[in-house]
């Protein structure tokens, strides 16, 4: 699921989708804005594999778990992985 497998095409693998999200996230954006831009980018770059919203949210979860994404007042923003995690740890 996270990496491509026999049943998961490389363009649907969560790391790949997450990379695409990070790449688009050049400034803080709302979730829907990010979602819209991702769909736009994917259709513009020949990624025609269906991508439901929940799969997109799952890729966000991965990024969050990796500590490279955080949700700050309803805005998604990138953060450096080696920086101190927001809240918790």
């Amino acid at each position: 699921m996270i990496t491509p497998t026999k049943g998961i095409a490389p363009q649907r693998a969560l790391v790949v989708v997450g990379a695409q999200v990070l790449q688009l996230l050049d400034r803080p954006m709302t979730v829907s804005q990010t979602w819209a831009r991702l769909k736009e980018w994917r259709s513009g770059h020949g990624h025609h594999a269906p991508l439901p919203f929940w799969w997109f949210v799952l890729s966000l979860d991965v990024l969050y778990a990796l500590g490279v994404l955080e949700l700050d007042r309803d805005l998604l923003r990138r953060r450096q992985a080696n920086a101190a995690p927001a809240g918790g740890e």
Binding site: S32, W35, F53, D61, G88
Partner: protein, 580 residues
């Protein structure tokens, strides 16, 4: 009656005329050389001067305007109808457009007076002559005093002795005939219609020539072509007229049209935006449905796999990730719902706005449809005016072309009917005509005896009234001159009897050139008798040897000779008293 011909120059031999026959004699002076001739003694000059004094339009080459004479003021004294004393007229070559009259006849047009000198324009003098000497009415087309005088005072210089029925050589047939008709008491109006017809005929021929010219022909055109052009032009005019009549002016038309354009643009922009919004709305709604997905059981295996794959890389604990996930999904739903509501609201607003704008556009367009701008009406009217002008020009050309095509026939018909009318008129005036014929034939018999047939014939010819004097000829010389003599005498007698001409008749000595001495003596005798009987004045210039010939045939000239006698004596024998 002419009484005296004089001049301001004292050398001029003033001529005193009397009633009846007057003979101005040109003599061969004793001691004159054979090479001297009496030509230039002044016999013809007398006639030139009488014409000059009686209002002739003076040509630059005429006698009184010669350099040596133009300062001389000539004068002629003559009896004037309805005036107790004779009128004296003064005129000089230098100021030939004016005459001085003393006393002035009544009814001189004050506007024609030169107030400085009391002089009268020559044209006014001509009018007075026509009115008083010839009794011409105000309207007398075709008859003029000058033309009438050319019969009573024939001139050698304008070939007056060539034809009896022409006063001078340049006189056209119909012109001469009209003036003669007046003197003979025929209907000169009828005779003048020949002139009018002649003028029409000339104009028609000119036009026809012009119409045959390829370029000029286009100006006139053909009746058939013009008729169809007129029909087309009339239809165009009617159409335009209808448009103008039904035209409804919309105030501020241009402004309204711009507004309609703006509204249209606004509606288009709204529609474009709506399309985008609807697509968005669909997306949002689909996204909402997807976002409702409640099952989050997959999170755990994903997280597990994450830990397997990335190992120490995973920074967050599972419950943190789960909280993040819920937060994203919850917010996401709110966002989507907000967005959906916004878009729905915008679509609803847009629809209302479009409805409003649509109604406004429809109203504006209806107004625009109903009428046009004032400027459009003005243009329409201008075009209508142009079309009307074209139509009227075409109609004029049509009339001209039609007239041209029909005048030939009309003129021929008019000529025939005129000829008929003229012949009837001559028939109706049999009395006058017979009187003239009888008188002429009496005069001819007095000259040639009763064995010669002589007649005067009046006949309506196709182109003019023809007056034909005839004396049977045996080729004896000078018979043409005697025809003129008898003709003029007849004319003078009849016209004077009827008050249509003054009482004088003047002939030049050339009339008797080549005339047999028997006829010469008879003619002078006849002239003297007729003048006395009719109260006429007959003035003739004559060479002394011709007079001698007449004397030998029993004509005693003594009582008729003018006291002044011209000679060919070189220096001072002539009429002017000096040679030039």
């Amino acid at each position: 009656m002419l009484r005296r011909l004089g001049a301001s120059d004292h050398r001029f031999r003033a001529l005193q005329f009397r009633a009846g026959l007057n003979i101005l004699v040109a003599d061969t002076a004793n001691g004159s050389r054979d090479t001297d001739s009496r030509n230039g003694a002044g016999k013809s000059s007398m006639i030139e001067l009488i014409h000059f004094m009686l209002g002739e339009r003076s040509e630059p080459k005429s006698l009184p305007r010669q350099a040596v004479l133009q300062k001389v003021e000539f004068n002629l004294t003559l009896d004037w109808p309805r005036l107790p004393e004779p009128v004296t007229v003064h005129r000089s070559g230098e100021r030939h457009t004016w005459v001085r009259l003393h006393p002035a006849p009544s009814g001189v047009d004050q506007g024609q007076l030169d107030l400085g000198t009391g002089a009268v324009r020559n044209t006014e003098w001509q009018r007075l002559i026509e009115r008083d000497l010839f009794n011409l009415p105000e309207q007398h087309d075709g008859v003029s005093g000058r033309n009438l005088l050319s019969f009573l005072i024939r001139r050698v210089s304008s070939a007056g002795y060539v034809s009896a029925v022409h006063g001078h050589v340049r006189q056209a047939d119909h012109d001469a005939a009209t003036n003669l008709a007046y003197l003979f008491g025929l209907d000169h109006h009828l005779a003048d219609r020949y002139r009018a017809l002649r003028a029409r005929e000339n104009a028609r021929q000119q036009m026809q020539k012009a119409a045959q010219d390829p370029l000029m022909g286009r100006i006139i055109g053909k009746v058939a072509d013009l008729r169809s052009e007129i029909a087309l032009a009339e239809r165009r005019v009617a159409e335009l007229q209808g448009q103008v009549d039904n035209f409804h002016v919309v105030p501020e038309y241009e402004h309204l049209r711009r507004r309609a354009d703006d509204v249209d643009q606004a509606i288009r922009r709204l529609i474009a935006r709506d399309t985008a919004d609807r697509r968005n709305l669909e997306d949002v709604e689909r996204a909402l449905q997807e976002a409702i997905e409640p099952d989050i059981s997959y999170l755990e295996p994903v997280y597990g796999q994450l830990g397997v794959i990335l190992g120490g890389q995973v920074r967050r604990r599972f419950d943190e990730v789960e909280a993040f996930h819920h937060s994203v999904v919850r917010n996401r739903r709110r966002y989507l719902e907000e967005e959906r509501d916004t878009v729905r609201q915008r679509l609803a607003d847009s629809e209302a706005e479009r409805g409003r704008l649509g109604a406004q556009l429809a109203a504006t367009l209806r107004t625009l449809e109903e009428g046009g701008a004032l400027s459009a009406l003005t243009t329409l009217q201008q075009v209508l005016g142009e079309q009307r002008a074209t139509l009227s020009a075409l109609q004029h050309r049509y009339e001209a072309a039609q007239a041209l095509e029909s005048t030939r026939r009309e003129i021929t018909q008019a000529r025939l009917s005129l000829q008929d009318e003229m012949n009837r008129d001559i028939e109706d005036r049999r009395g006058f005509v017979d009187e003239a014929t009888v008188l002429f034939s009496d005069f001819a018999r007095a000259l040639y005896g009763s064995d010669r047939s002589a007649y005067l014939r009046f006949e309506a010819a196709p182109n003019s009234l023809r007056i034909e004097p005839h004396i049977q000829s045996d080729n004896s010389g000078g018979i043409g001159s005697m025809v003129i003599f008898c003709f003029d005498l007849t004319l003078a007698v009849l016209a004077h009897r009827a008050g249509r001409a003054p009482d004088f008749l003047v002939h030049d000595s050339h009339l008797f050139d080549g005339v047999d001495e028997r006829q010469l003596a008879a003619a002078l005798g006849l002239a003297a008798r007729t003048a006395e009987r009719e109260g006429l004045q007959y003035i003739i210039s004559m060479n002394s040897d011709d007079l001698d010939k007449a004397g030998r045939r029993g004509f005693d000239a003594t009582p008729y000779r003018l006291p002044e006698q011209l000679t060919d004596r070189y220096e001072d024998g002539g009429l002017f008293g000096f040679r030039f």
